[in-house]
């Protein structure tokens, strides 16, 4: 099969950027599935707050998935977001099965966010030279995920 979408990047820029974007797509789908899983299985006195906040996280993760995947196509790289690929390659920390206490949910989300942000910051560095357009997208995603990281932490901590 020939490559049907021509890139405006040179082959090396395309290789680096494409790898970063494909990795981000997988991490973000995993994050959205974890957040939905938590949305359904959370119990505890803060159920309502956590249940609603998880759907905001799902919305953010889904929008960023689409942005990253369509950026990959825009540089001529096919994204892969199928369940098996996500199950095998996602860098997150996962989520236990069954009903979960609200405080456990908050801890799990904070840790998963920290992991995804860490990997994203590496990709910001990796794409600085290769493609400033993609780097700009990663910066935007990091800004929002770090805001959510604060908000989820704020529910756990004491001043």
């Amino acid at each position: 099969m020939t490559v049907p979408i021509k890139s405006t990047l040179d082959p090396e820029q395309q290789r680096i950027t494409g790898e970063a974007l494909r990795g981000a797509v997988v991490d973000l789908i995993d994050l959205s599935l974890i957040a939905k899983q938590a949305h359904w299985n959370v119990v505890g006195t803060n159920f309502r707050s956590v249940h609603l906040a998880l759907d905001e996280l799902v919305t953010a993760a889904r929008e960023f998935t689409d942005s990253a995947a369509e950026r990959a196509t825009a540089i001529g790289v096919s994204p892969d977001g199928r369940a098996a690929t996500v199950a095998k390659e996602a860098g997150g920390l996962g989520f236990p099965d069954g009903w979960q206490q609200d405080t456990d949910v908050i801890n799990a989300i904070v840790d998963n966010l920290a992991t995804v942000i860490g990997r994203l910051r590496e990709r910001i560095d990796a794409t600085e030279k290769a493609d400033p357009v993609t780097q700009d997208l990663f910066i935007e995603i990091a800004a929002r995920l770090e805001q959510l990281h604060w908000m989820w932490q704020a529910q756990l901590t004491t001043a």
Copy 2:
């Protein structure tokens, strides 16, 4: 761990209905990931029509996933929609990797829809006695997926 959500069904009704709902959740998440994968990787003269129609399918699949998962919680059964579970248990036919011709995409979507609908019709029968509320939800999902099944077929056939 104790079971935190009490059901208004008896244990046997709950077992049958819960199994049907957990299966539907997995099939529908898989369908939404396949449709997104196709949305990004389709090429060909009908790119725009197919690209847009796939997002309508994603929206439908996501809304039905949420309805089925929240119906499971409503009868005291924990749903499981994590990537690894979906990768292992989904009943769909999958989707090849890389760029795909528009006609191949249409065929793949028609076949995946037919498979998911077939499994859903079995669940409509299975829940008739066990829980008419859940059966009603499956009927609603089937109605919409069969409508989409026609629309995707209509793009392939000749009168």
Copy 3:
């Protein structure tokens, strides 16, 4: 000509359900044309109420026509809503030509609704075994038409 849309029903289920749906399409188009005819030709002190209420009936009838016709396509049956077919096969009671007094309009609408509902209740029975998805659609249509049947009657009667 080959049949281009494959059904998820078996041939006998398809035959029964298809016949019921094609009949409903014709009845509902006829009802929408009668209601529009009345909308334009009504006169009398209750003109404004009746004129507006008729447009609500038109809207309902048109939406249900589309639902029934697209359900037919979804099970592989071609719907027929052309003027000649409607003129020949509709089960309603018709509507006289020329200007009509408001009370006569109300009586004519109540009687047409009663007839269409009666035919619909037979189709609910006929499709119970053949296709619960179609039956569900007929139940939804009946619920709305019976609500309108009450509202139109309420304008006529004395407590």
Copy 4:
């Protein structure tokens, strides 16, 4: 029965204008039923485009029907849009039954539009003296139908 709505036109103006409006009502209802019929029965690779474009045509035809019928009432002439009247008097070319290939649908719509526009242009001439208000409505309808005539043709032709 006495004529309940007084006209601001003289009897001859009213006769000419009323005849033109009653004819337009019938043609436009027929056009809307043909477009709906095609909307449901079209198949082929351009299914989605054609299916959507047909609903735009339905919307236009329905709005113009209402405008023409209410213009008739405004000049004291009772419009007649019942199924039997439409079946007998409409000037369109009709539409075959059963599933239809997308290219056949496009041809049929182009030809029906051309016929309706031709009759409308005659009515524009006929009402110039009799009633400039009605003529203005026919000009507005012709403008939109001719725009649609171009758009449907554009799908058929080669530059």
Copy 5:
């Protein structure tokens, strides 16, 4: 005082068109004040229908007033819509003071509409040569007022 707005019409066209527009402004303000007066003072079993329909008439009359007055300015003619001018020059039939029975209100509105439409039809003729742009506006106003004329009549009459 010099005339500050230059016209794109010649002096004679401007004189004829300006006179027609100034007359229409006065008639339409008067109509809107009468309709508001009726809106407040109507009583009777059809209070609610008539009360609401009168506000639709007010809305229409106000929008047309603005269109006519701004068309006058556009051709360099100053419109005059002050209370004293309206009281002295309006061509309508007026409205009695105090509470009014709903049937009396309907009759008064039908008669005032007929008078205003009659004067408007003369202005359509008068501006045909002088300014087709202004004539087009008068045709649009007449179309809407004649539609309202039918609707108000329809509440009075028997078929």
Copy 6:
């Protein structure tokens, strides 16, 4: 049980104002239930107008109930809007059971409104010194109920 919400009023002001607000809450819930009862049970030629007007009254009564109840909480007084309390303490005139003629409905609503307004005017006097904030709320409620009182009367009377 201790009183959990501190008031910014002194005890005597709080006692007078609290009593007035608790009475208003009960009257307004009763009014909303009566209006809904009438909304469902009205028959007669003015069915549609009365049916719709009753829902506007329900909306108004519900919003004022909420305002009065939340004003009570704001001054540290617990409101009581349970069915048994309303059944025992409401000052309205009640409503007969079963289907009701439209003219009877109008009379019943006018009389209930007059009663509720009378009690409200007493509360406006009672709270003038005790709490101008609460008085202001009662004035707002009276303004709207007196407007509705006129509109319902207007349907009954002859000029």
Copy 7:
């Protein structure tokens, strides 16, 4: 008094269905008044979540009340939702007077929901033969109330 609304059900179907619907109307009004009572009187650290969630319950209960009452009218049965009727016949568990701790509110709502759902499930069985249209409405109400039942429980329990 004669019965003004004719039913499309036979007398026995009408009797069974009417009884079920009148019972549901009373239960749902009671539920909406209890939820409003709780909305105003709740205190505690989860005040805001509980306060908002109660208004969602009020909205749901009010909409279902209207659907059940209008379904009763549609089959020719007069619904009764007056305060005294609700106080005497509602099947819920009631709600204590005065300020209430948030956890007590949650328990009271969960128990009231369970009671109302239990009675509704009996009505689903009772109407299966008598009227599938009414049964479908009860299934829809049960689906939503069971979803809310889960959400309210989830705030109480530990995983």
Copy 8:
């Protein structure tokens, strides 16, 4: 003619309040006609600002007219807003005919507003005892007109 709308005020309260409201209706209609007149006839470098600000004044004046007139009806007093009444009884300062310089327009609006506000402040005093509900409406109108009075002045003055 009998008085069809009963008042909740005693005859003396009704007389005082009715007189104040009828006067306000006339002043506010006059103000709205003056503002429209200015809207059309203003010229000068601040045309656009003044033209837009005048329409905000028209909107305010029209809404307050309706509130005052419907308050009159609510206390059983028939309002009179016909052109001749306004021309004869309005307390404003009028507006010259023909095109007007923007600064002259601003001065005329400021002076008209000051006059109307002055008369309104007298009505606030006059209705304090007679009807606090009407007084509250006058206070609301004064608040908005005084805000506009500042904004129009601000365009004239130097700091």
Copy 9:
């Protein structure tokens, strides 16, 4: 190349109308580019008013461009709105480069509008016989441009 879109006009009507429409397209694109140029380059104390008013002109010019171009296609004539064509054939007066004083901008816009309107009035005459549908579009465009012509003049002049 063959002509792909058939016209409902005869060849001579098509030639006259097509020429008029192609000319209008070019004039209107030019007007929109001039208005945008002015929007960016205006300075002076009336900057904000002029800056905003210019964008309203851009919006109007763009919508009319589209209407005129699509009317050309509807009669089978290919429109040409490319930069080089506009630069060569537009009938406007142009606009100087660099920053411009607000009063100079107003003068330039008034003059360009007058020129475009003048050419449009010739096209209204030219198409009267050839195509009343196109003439109607030109009348609508002239009405709006003449309104804007007044508004822009009003900023310059003294009463």
Copy 10:
């Protein structure tokens, strides 16, 4: 500098009212800055509820600031809402720096609200004679702040 805005109040009324309004402006800006400060710095298990509720308070405080300041201008008094003025003259209790526990935030907001409300109630008394229009604004502000005072307290207390 001369005073550029003339007042409709006499000098003494203006002095009293102006002082009250200037004080309210300062208190409300301070309240909005405190609420924003808390919005950013709150931590604890109720983070999400408190974070959202604080933004509602900010919105309320900002709107009332604008109302009070524009009321000052309307009576010819210049408001002063600069940072230094607020820091020096605000009557609130302030807010500590750095991260704050959610319960501490709630206590601080309740106390600040109580202080601002207390000062506002004094201003309601002070302006009763001087200017009922301003008093009405203060009553409206107090009504909303007292509602918020209850809601914030409700999160702290036990029944």
Copy 11:
């Protein structure tokens, strides 16, 4: 003429950035005119998809034109978007006159996009040091145009 807008950049930064922005303005206007030209002149089986997609491109190009031109003004550089300037300086590949086949249109748009993107990438490099604010705008434009570049390519290619 003096330069009226002061820049926050130094002269050399301003020169480099201004040149890049002026070039982008011209390229983007040209692109929007080409896309409109294609929107009107496209024919072929994919007419509807291409016709709609072209308007999305027009919208994007117009918004970016405005952003780039207003960024130029923000750094004190006058933008030039007049027709003659665009015709002379635009870097795109142009577009043939007359009707165009849909596949030819797609090829022409892909090539024009590639050219504009190439020039934009040079401007991203050129402004990195001179003005990061402008560079950020170019990155945003490139991201969107490269997404469109993929979508237009996807219609052409085979997997």
Copy 12:
């Protein structure tokens, strides 16, 4: 007190970035208070334009304040936006008390904007290495403030 929010930056990056963000928060609050102060106190012939433009500046400044403050929290730094802090640390030029002439207001806003932009450009440099996410936010703020800087200048200058 322990630091409750963990940062994804190292301590030195956090220190630099936190300082820059805290400074920006203070500058932006000050700017919003100055703009509101001017919004209330401006007088002169351009009152309306300036009054409206100031509210756009307030809106921008408030949104950026929130973005900067929440970015500080996201990196674990507590923002401080209390009145006393703003009064002491803001870098703007302040604003005089009392009524202000419109031209003076424009000059004061231009100068304050220039000062805030200058400090922001330093923060863009300071955070380039420390945190590209924060730098991106500063670039976005600068872009908008520089656009406003142009628009405010444009009102002052002569071409």
